[in-house]
């Protein structure tokens, strides 16, 4: 290690998926600026190295080699599961800690192939059952339409949800379909949902598609409930969908509206960038805090030392006080279900 701590940030910063990658750059920047303003970590300044991977596996291997060549000690990222999986072997070889705010693929933690991987978001394996259980047990609905966006985040979630329905045997999947992300109009699929007689739509995917679907559902006067995932539990969703968002349920990290750090982070973003933060901002903020904390506590950037701190010591973050299990998943980021009421997400009691 030199006289600075090199902190890598990787994710899509250009192209169609930039909106998922750029917020974590902002999050890292806010945390690091703050840390540096307070004299750095153990006397060392933190230097941020930002690299774009456009969410493509082939680019992300280049991104990873670039970061490794540049001597980063830890990496915040990547954003998409596919890009992350492709990049992991390169970091693993060099013993670099990677923490993602958004890659939910089960494989990353559960396969045991990537001991250097951590994340502040819950894996798909935890999320799908949460959505389904909520729809069946809490809402008391049994005819379920499962819709996903065919992506590497939404589709596995949806598949997990379907499996969970079949396992519990309580509900019935009346429709299971993928929609084309970015398509201009979803009225056909909405009509199909109506035709299927579903009482609830369980959606796996991100908020742009979700908001288009709920908007059309409202236009077509459908009263079907809408239960969705973490990718939708985002304030942008409410902004964009407006009235149509009312009554939409979404799974999300435990309620942290009372968490002062979350409010502080949001305010800091507003002050620095003049707008509300975007997707995965809190998770990225938390990951940055957690990694820098581990470096400080361990006074080292060696993977083994960092892992020990991450797994044993709780750290306060916008997503709660967290530490990590042996697979790398965050403990303490359990799910809450939220519902949109009067233009904001509130926890369903």
């Amino acid at each position: 290690a030199g006289d600075t701590i090199k902190f890598g940030v990787a994710g899509p910063h250009s192209g169609d998926l930039a909106s998922y990658g750029l917020p974590s750059v902002n999050a890292a920047k806010l945390v690091i600026d703050k840390v540096n303003a307070n004299g750095g970590i153990n006397g060392k300044m933190v230097e941020m190295l930002v690299e774009d991977d456009v969410c493509k596996p082939e680019i992300s291997t280049n991104t990873a080699t670039k970061l490794v060549s540049d001597g980063v000690e830890v990496v915040l990222g990547h954003i998409c599961s596919g890009a992350t999986i492709a990049a992991m072997p390169i970091y693993k070889e060099s013993g670099i800690l990677v923490m993602s705010p958004s890659a939910t693929s089960d494989e990353l933690t559960l396969s045991g192939d990537y001991p250097n991987f951590f994340r502040t978001i819950a894996p798909n394996a935890a999320q799908s059952p949460a959505m389904i259980d909520f729809a069946i047990n809490k809402l008391g609905l049994s005819k379920i339409a499962i819709i996903h966006d065919k992506g590497d985040y939404g589709k596995p979630l949806a598949e997990g949800a379907k499996k969970h329905v079949e396992q519990t045997g309580k509900g019935e999947v009346v429709l299971f379909e993928g929609i084309t992300p970015g398509a201009m109009d979803y009225s056909a699929i909405v009509q199909k949902i109506k035709q299927s007689g579903a009482e609830v739509v369980v959606f796996g995917g991100y908020h742009p598609e979700a908001s288009k679907i709920v908007t059309i559902m409202k236009k077509k006067r459908l009263k079907t409930k809408f239960v969705s995932d973490d990718g939708v539990k985002d304030d942008t969703f409410i902004k964009v969908a407006g009235d149509a968002a009312e009554g939409v349920y979404a799974a999300g990290p435990q309620d942290n509206s009372s968490n002062p750090m979350a409010a502080e982070a949001k305010a800091a973003h507003k002050a620095a960038f003049g707008s509300d933060p975007g997707a995965f901002f809190e998770g990225a903020y938390a990951a940055t805090v957690a990694m820098l904390n581990a470096i400080e506590k361990a006074d080292s950037t060696k993977l083994e030392d960092l892992k020990k701190v991450l797994q044993t010591e709780k750290v306060a973050t916008p997503v709660g006080d967290i530490n990590f299990d042996k697979n790398g998943d965050a403990i303490g980021v359990g799910f809450s279900m939220y519902v949109v009421e009067n233009g904001s997400y509130i926890v369903v009691k």
Binding site: P57, E58, I90, D152, K155, K239
Partner: protein, 402 residues
């Protein structure tokens, strides 16, 4: 120097751009908080920026006009390269220099550079493959990435299910891709020009969508991970060694590809492709079987894409359908056109420039892709024929004294 009239025109131009970009770069609204931010400084930057660029362009034009020899100069550099390629000795020296650089490259540059260079070399081969279809045979293919995907998935799946190694699958991947080439070729042979373009684009999308949706077969959007890297007599490589090995493998592939494409181009078949590109009807009237010739072009092009696909899967060790979008086809096509259609060296340069550029533009961070798009436009404007055009060796007949 710049005249008053030109200054006035420059002023008008920059005013026009200020007007043009006004809503997008000056106003920023927050529809929820209902606030408007007026970023007037941006308008000023835009005005100064465009005025500066305008003066630069004018200056360049003046220089070009005042030096009538200048166009000739570029002509000369081109024929200079041309000349080198024509003369056996100089060609050998050039090849030697390039080869030395290629061999020594990884020893002077970091693993990252080597890795990026490997990627660029893969695109060289892709470009050369597409060059057969577009550059030589004149068939506009906007779905070339489909064959690339076929190659990659062939390896990934065979590796996953049957544990087949890189070297075993390499030819299989190429052949299956070639087969797909024929499959695509059949229905679209009747189509001309841009109708062909859209159908190939559609075909590319169909392949990607099937890979995405047919989860049981392809593991869907989650992709396939832990694909074996290329092996060598069962040796175990570290990551760094593996990158090095892959690099040299790619160099070898590039050499083979250039060799083969060069031979094809100089053959009876190559002539038929070029003729087909020039005038289909005349071509048929000369006894060339349009269908067969086109199909061969399609399948040969696809073959290379398949080979590189296998290489790609082995290099990244993970693939998913997101890597095979239309944009990828567009980039490969840009390589061919920018390089100079039908010119092998052109394509090599095109690939190196277009693939290395975004990597080296990383320094511009978020302006990276903006610059990439802008540079693409500029390069086309300044070299509409491609970087290196018309270096095709033509047949000559020198009458020997009897």
């Amino acid at each position: 120097m710049v005249s008053l009239k030109e200054l006035k025109k420059g002023l008008l131009t920059s005013l026009w751009f200020v007007f043009l970009t006004f809503p997008i770069i000056v106003i920023k609204v927050d529809p929820i908080q209902r606030t408007v931010i007026w970023r007037w400084q941006n308008a000023l930057y835009m005005a100064l920026g465009t005025f500066g660029i305008y003066l630069l362009v004018k200056y360049y034009q003046h220089r070009k006009e005042n030096q009538p020899s200048r166009p000739k100069n570029t002509e000369q550099t081109e024929s200079f390269l041309h000349g080198i390629l024509q003369k056996p000795l100089q060609r050998k020296i050039l090849v030697g220099v390039v080869a030395t650089i290629a061999v020594l490259f990884p020893h002077f540059f970091s693993t990252y550079q080597t890795n990026v260079m490997t990627t660029a070399l893969m695109y060289v081969v892709l470009g050369l493959g597409l060059n057969i279809v577009v550059g030589l045979a004149g068939l506009l293919d906007l779905g070339f990435v489909a064959f690339y995907a076929v190659g990659a998935y062939t390896y990934a799946l065979l590796n996953l299910h049957f544990g087949l190694g890189f070297w075993t699958v390499l030819p299989i991947g190429g052949l299956i891709a070639a087969m797909f080439g024929v499959l695509l070729g059949f229905p679209v042979l009747r189509l001309r020009g841009d109708y062909l373009a859209i159908v190939t684009l559609g075909f590319g999308e169909i392949i990607r969508l099937i890979l995405e949706n047919w989860g049981k077969f392809s593991k869907g959007p989650s992709g396939i991970s832990n694909i074996s890297r290329p092996g060598f007599l069962g040796m175990e490589f570290s990551l760094e060694q593996s990158i090095l090995y892959t690099y040299y493998l790619m160099i070898l592939f590039v050499i083979i590809t250039i060799f083969v494409v060069n031979r094809l181009q100089d053959s009876r078949l190559g002539r038929a492709w070029i003729a087909l590109r020039e005038d289909e009807i005349a071509c048929q009237a000369m006894g060339i079987d349009k269908r067969k010739t086109k199909l061969v072009a399609f399948s040969l092009g696809a073959f290379w894409a398949g080979i590189v696909g296998v290489m790609f899967a082995a290099k990244t060790t993970f693939i998913n359908p997101a890597s095979f979008t239309f944009l990828e086809s567009a980039i490969i096509l840009s390589i061919v056109v920018l390089g100079g259609m039908g010119s092998i060296i052109g394509v090599v340069f095109g690939a190196l420039i277009l693939i290395l550029m975004p990597e080296y533009l990383r320094a511009l961070s978020e302006y990276r892709m903006l610059a990439f798009g802008g540079i693409l436009v500029c390069m086309m404007i300044f070299r509409p024929q491609g970087l290196i055009s018309n270096i095709r060796r033509t047949y000559r007949f020198e009458k020997k004294p009897q």
